[in-house]
Amino acid sequence: MAARKEKSTEGMHQEVVEISGHIIDSLILPKILDCITAAGGHFRIEEISVGQQRSDPSFARVNVAARDAEQLQRILEVISDHGAVSVSTGDCRIVAADIAGAFPDDFYSTTNQRTEIRVNGHWLSVEDQEMDCGIAVDVSLQTARCVPMSDVVVGQQFIVGHRGVRVFPEERTSHAQSFEFMNSAVSTEKPKGVAIRAIARRLFENRQANQNTLVVGGPAIVHTGSVPHLSYLIHHGFVNKLFAGNALATHDIEHALYGTSLGVQLESGDLVEAGHEHHLRAINSIRRAGGIARAAATGLLKSGIMYDCVTRDVEFILAGSIRDDGPLPEVITDALEAQRRMRDAIRDVSFCLMIATTLHSVAVGNLLPASVDVVCVDINPSTVIKLSDRGSFQTVGVVTDVEPFLRALVEELKSIAEQADA
């Protein structure tokens, strides 16, 4: 059998082919690999599974690379005679779900990149692009969309295998110009002024274009005394949606009601006596009032991020966790329901700012299509790296403390507004 060849294929023309059946004993696979090399191409075996029993078929998915389109075409023609099928040619295979909440075996697992599928010779765009989902197809309506595993309904038609599916990697150059500078994912060495200016510009452009910006925030926003900065962004229409957990809302309300966050007086930094009870008393008050919106309406809650969201019509989704106190009545404690609500809410988002939250950032990163620009701000570089490692490649990171970041961001926005006025 031919040796596996590894070579950098960057910048080369590439196509993925599948070869299945009795391809090992018959030497068909090595023959195909040799054909590729003999014709001047390169190959990389992406996946291989060898049948265990004599009658079991084997399978290989091979990336074929050539220096130009013509050479690639020639290679594909040669190897197609030996059974190598381009995954992008031929219709996708569709199988009906037989169990609710589970995909058919061998389901196509999605990426967050723009995807098309081939049905009856025509390419259809996949809607609601999201990673780690299946693709449900309605052949009669000629539509396809990503569906998470838990939402699978019996009889729903899903794509299996890789054939008839093509993925379009996001090209950063197609994005808004002010964002181009951020071509390296994360660095503690980056000049933050430049980054913050670019983010301010992006927020400004998004507002100008009537597009939606989502903020995913952690309680550190409150602990670090950044509530006024985020309130500024909300007041001026730079934030359209907020995703957070029980903690951010609780400490924001604690701050609004008692002036403390986790019992610390934010203005002085002093620990307040029995301050550790404040957050619990805050939750209790809101629960007694019947929720955040009710508390804002009755005058119990008069300021803060949550108050601003309620009064400025900023959609907020609070997702619960097992360590939550209370929680606040608006917190969604069913994790799948929270995912569904967040999924629905991100459809019209074009820019996402993740501030000082790890798990929430990863969760939202999983839901967002690669076409949405994401900025992740965290004092801990591993949060940003975690996002990129999980496939949210469109994320650019700014490693910095939250308060100075938001303060500088507000300053930049003010100066852009002044320039615009002038």
């Binding site: 299945s20 059946g21 004993d25 090595p30 004599r54 078929p57 030996h82």
Partner: protein, 278 residues
């Protein structure tokens, strides 16, 4: 033990009406009476070997219907009916399918964008289905056929256009023993054959061109065209009884003894046949 059963078709309408392989030449016409005589002789030799012969009714306009080996692939009570690559032969498909169905076989039709030429390109040797591809059958269909039958298939590219069907260059005699013409395969095919058939009897070019590999095997009798003395000697050494009968009129169309028959109860070399009988 059940008597061997073969399907044949009288050459009433046989002739060279088109050219779909390098043997065929419309200017080299078939001598009809001679063809009929050669076919009749083959028919009676097969009968003398103790086999029953079923007859497929010949049809005008389908000269190659006489080559019943290409009608389908038999596996037990099941037959996978051929999908011919050339439109000239596609008219045979419904007739073959109808005959199989009428004679109690469970018929499987392949999708019409597939190419598969039955026992012309797919032959069992032991438990493995050996198959030829590229000229007629396509490799993807051979893989599908193996999946349907739950067996291993060794698809081999046929690299010489004169040996356009596997049965023109490979003939299993019994599990682990087969005749072949090496140059009809590339190095991968030759290596795969050597790997999966214990003993291979090679034929030389001259006898390969006389269709030595296109043999009918009934028990220990092996019927071929005339002009294959070296193979016959080798067969005798291996305990077989070779029988030569002239089939020159059919060689004009690229066929010989094996092409003119389809074994309905399973070839001698097919393990599933003995497994079923025991």
């Amino acid at each position: 033990m059940r008597r061997p059963r073969l399907l044949m078709c009288s050459p009433d309408f046989y002739g060279i009406h088109y050219e779909i392989n390098p043997w065929m030449n419309r200017r080299r016409e078939v001598e009809h009476a001679k063809a009929m005589d050669q076919w009749t002789r083959l028919h009676s030799i097969v009968r003398q070997c103790g086999a029953d012969i079923e007859l497929l009714a010949p049809v005008q306009g389908l000269p190659d219907l006489v080559f019943t080996a290409n009608a389908g692939l038999v596996f037990g009570n099941r037959v996978i009916v051929s999908r011919f690559r050339h439109p000239q032969r596609q008219g045979e498909e419904p007739l073959d399918a109808a005959w199989f169905a009428e004679n109690g076989l469970s018929v499987t039709r392949l999708p019409d964008d597939r190419y598969f030429e039955g026992a012309g390109d797919a032959l069992f040797c032991g438990e493995t289905l050996f198959a030829g591809y590229r000229t007629r059958s396509d490799v993807g269909t051979l893989q599908s056929v193996a999946r349907m039958l739950g067996c291993r298939v060794i698809p081999m590219e046929l690299v010489d256009p004169y040996y356009y069907h596997l049965d023109t260059c490979f003939c299993p005699l019994r599990p682990g023993l087969a005749v072949y013409y090496p140059a009809a395969f590339d190095e991968y095919g030759q290596k795969a054959l050597r790997e999966h058939v214990e003993q291979l009897l090679p034929v030389e070019l001259e006898e390969a061109r006389a269709f030595a590999c296109n043999a009918v095997v009934i028990g220990t009798r092996v019927i071929t065209n005339t002009g294959c003395p070296r193979l016959h000697a080798a067969l005798a050494e291996h305990g077989y009884e070779p029988i030569a009968t002239p089939l020159s009129e059919f060689v004009k169309a690229g066929g010989s003894a094996k092409c003119l028959t389809l074994r309905l109860d399973g070839e001698e070399a097919a393990s599933w046949k003995t497994a079923r009988a025991s």
